[in-house]
Symmetry: C2
């Protein structure tokens, strides 16, 4: 097994030959997987879903997203050759407890959680040796949640990071990679530790800062008013992720605590340097630092855009839609690097 990216194809393949797929959790991620599978001509023979919430199961049924809507996780996974956990990482313990006796030999079990070291530990402690346990994380999502928020194209052009243990079966890893690729994703594998360190920096820390910024502005709003009223797209984009699910983010900050705090320390060093330049009115060094950062930004996102095979990202704004919105958006599409600052 390799720790470098194992697959960067984004051309659709077969579903990794999985024929009986069970999805545990029918929220944003779980229902997106189901939608993506339902849209395929080569659908698996059996698609089972369990959600702890009866109302969610009903909604999934109304959308027609599965063949079986199971009241227990154990009944959903019985006979499945692929099990996908799309539930809060904090719920893994009881769910694994409930399903482990039902997992058939040779089945693959994976998940979609944002922190991987704790998932690796839990899988290692709780799963029998006769299943292929491969933690995973599709780097895709929204601040919206629930079965209604799902989208069959959520994984298009997105990375799915798998964090297999050293002893994983190579064929099982390839098979799971092919599954995600067939849903439009690109797959890389790395250690759980590396995943958690990277994501702390590029996702968990920005969320922490966005939550803090939103709280700061709302408190200021309470004192003097008129803050958010006169804000622009820059503020909206910057704080968008502060609309994300609180429970999920509580778990992420707890599970990835050391990496998040380390990333925060590094951030505070940079913030402190900029703050000092401003305090001291060090005009020259401040300009130099800002120019350097702007160039970093340009390089980062130019490189991202140049990644081969990357399709348009479903990145959207909370814009109010008015009758001429469609025309506006078409116009804007022809000038794709325009955003209100």
């Amino acid at each position: 097994m390799t720790m470098t990216p194992i697959n960067e194809r984004c051309d659709a393949q077969g579903l990794g030959d999985f024929q009986r797929i069970a999805v545990i959790g029918g929220g944003l991620m779980g229902s997106s997987v189901l939608r993506a599978l339902r849209a395929r001509s080569d659908q698996p023979a059996m698609l089972s879903v369990h959600d702890i919430c009866a109302r969610t199961r009903d909604r999934l049924g109304q959308f027609g997203l599965a063949d079986r809507y199971c009241a227990t996780a154990a009944s959903a996974v019985a006979g499945a050759d692929l099990v996908i956990l799309a539930i809060p990482v904090g719920a893994f313990g009881p769910v694994l407890q409930a399903i482990r006796a039902e997992l058939q030999p040779g089945a693959t079990i994976t998940d979609v959680g944002s922190v991987k070291t704790t998932v690796s530990d839990t899988f290692g402690h709780m799963l029998p040796a006769h299943v292929h346990a491969i933690p995973g994380h599709p780097i895709a999502g929204k601040e919206a949640s629930g079965p209604e928020a799902g989208c069959g194209q959520l994984f298009h052009g997105r990375w799915v990071i798998l964090t297999p243990e050293q002893n994983v079966d190579d064929r099982a890893l390839t098979r799971l990679s092919d599954f995600w690729i067939s849903l439009g994703a690109r797959v890389a594998s790395m250690s759980a530790q590396k995943h958690d360190s990277i994501l702390a920096m590029t996702s968990h820390l920005p969320h922490l800062l966005a939550f803090s910024m939103m709280k700061t502005v709302r408190d200021a709003e309470g004192r003097q008013g008129d803050c958010t009223r006169f804000s622009a797209g820059g503020f909206r984009d910057f704080t968008r992720i502060a609309g994300s699910d609180a429970l999920m983010w509580r778990d992420i900050f707890m599970d990835n605590r050391d990496n998040v705090l380390a990333a925060l320390s590094q951030f505070l060093v940079q913030l402190s340097a900029l703050k000092s330049h401003i305090e001291e009115a060090d005009s020259g060094p401040l300009l130099e630092m800002l120019e350097h950062i702007r160039e970093s930004h340009r390089q980062t996102f130019t490189a991202a855009v140049r990644q081969p095979g990357l399709v348009a990202e479903p990145v959207m704004t909370n814009v109010p839609l008015c009758p001429n919105a469609q025309a506006d958006w078409s116009r804007i599409l022809s000038n794709a690097d325009d955003r209100v600052a």
Copy 2:
């Protein structure tokens, strides 16, 4: 003169009866004003523009955005009844020095700078009493700059904040308001101090944090690699404003130093509270705080969407465009609160 919003209409009016308009600076903001004016059926009788850069003047000429392309600011403002400074605030001194003798009695002079207290001071010191000096700030922009980046609809649905001194002529203030409204904007007036305090919180501080975040990630990238490669739309949105013009932001941080540092202090209090909860594994209080923030976010942006008369915002992403992008975007438009987290 009132310090509460003086006008919240967004229906197009006449151009405030300005017939000879001079724009100083042909970059993003100046060329956007010119484009908006050129698109009108009731264009002013004379549209003059000056930019210190000959190449920019040539570009403006190629786009056909003005009647006169002036090599000096003084020649551009001669005979104008409205002068709009769309240049870095750091350049106001020499430019006002160059034009003040040419400003005709009764002319209105305004600007588009992001910090207003320093502009008020400069106007007060350098302009003759026989002109109406009214500082202004359209809360609109992009991270792109230059005459090519301009857009005639940049001000549609955006606030323009005017910060008149107490002794300003009411009719001049109304006339300038009508001008901006005719370009699609909404106008509010307030003290320069209040403007600078609000914008420090909702624009200047987020920029400072985005610059710091971008620097942190790039340094981490240099140490371990693969950070930005596996980042998602959340990171991209969060750091988008770090692509903004470095010189402009150097000036903003310098000119609005006290407010920016005060806002930063308030932010650090909130960040520190969240950090403590994470360090101490205070799961309950952390969840409570995140839920409260998420609700604040929802209220803020629901309120923003509900503002009457607000048209679709030209908020856009740097998405790579591929053949099916248009279809993807149309699909996404039908689900307008979806964004990759």
